[in-house]
């Protein structure tokens, strides 16, 4: 594991082409067009879409709430780690928030790599880590008019920064 938080506050690290939370509609083809060059033998695009069912209930909408300022940082960290862990060469990731309906796209992860294995690894890393750490929540709205916030995972404490850093030396 590389340290979460290692890129916080900096520009996007090399290879992370896009890492953002957005209210806009998503389409995997947009990121597919932007990723990969002649050294990349594998390009992979994952779309997460809103399902019309959940635990046997009919879902009509999914509302995403986020801690936007922090989520942008966390998503960039995750994307950067995915490259370092896998050896993939480039990555672009967007997560949509707001009110979505089936089959809207809520998440796009695009990865380019020299070979297929790092591409699959990087894509999988991003999804698994964002489910652990990205400060984002969803409320399912059902066909019967009821709704509920979904349970999730408790994020782990950031190992890279046990205390908030102010950038001061000594003091």
């Amino acid at each position: 594991m590389t340290e979460p938080g290692s890129t916080r506050g900096s520009e996007s690290p090399e290879g992370v082409l896009v890492a953002e939370i957005t209210l806009d509609e998503l389409d995997g083809a947009d990121l597919l067009d932007r990723i990969g060059n002649e050294s990349d033998g594998a390009v992979l695009v994952f779309e997460g879409r809103v399902r019309d069912h959940s635990s046997g209930r009919a879902v009509v909408r999914l509302h995403y709430d986020s801690y936007r300022e922090m989520a942008d940082d966390v998503l960039r960290d995750i994307a950067s780690e995915a490259l370092q862990e896998s050896g993939a060469s480039a990555i672009a990731v967007r997560h949509r928030v707001g009110s979505l309906a089936p089959p809207n796209v809520s998440l796009v992860v695009a990865v380019a790599a020299a070979h297929r294995r790092p591409a699959y690894e990087a894509s999988s890393y991003v999804i698994e880590e964002l489910k652990r750490r990205l400060p984002l929540w969803k409320r399912e709205e059902y066909a019967d008019g009821t709704s509920q916030w979904l349970g999730g995972q408790t994020p782990p404490v950031s190992q890279a920064s046990p205390e908030p850093q102010t950038g001061q030396e000594g003091g």
């Binding site: 938080g5 916080r8 997460g48 709430d65 986020s66 801690y67 300022e69 922090m70 940082d73 997560h95 809520s106 998440l107 999804i127 964002l130 489910k131 652990r132 750490r133 990205l134 400060p135 984002l136 929540w137 969803k138 409320r139 916030w149 979904l150 349970g151 999730g152 995972q153 408790t154 994020p155 782990p156 404490v157 950031s158 920064s161 046990p162 205390e163 908030p164």
Partner: protein, 84 residues
Amino acid sequence: MTDRFEVAVRLFGQHRELAGDSVISVELAAGGTVADLRRALAAYPGLEAALGGSAVALNRAYQSDESPVRAGDEVAVIPPVAGG
């Protein structure tokens, strides 16, 4: 009362609905920690039973219960996350 200070705490998801607000104010003693913050939040109307499994972020980084909370910190309570 110079030894106490107010912190603005950002709420999200279900917490926001339960508290009826997206930012609430909590009073901490000087030298207070995330654990003290959790105790203060547990006394907030609506949030009593809803804090289990939540994390606390200071200045946009998740923190342990021992971390100090300082005046001016950006404080947020993070319910269990559910992206994807």
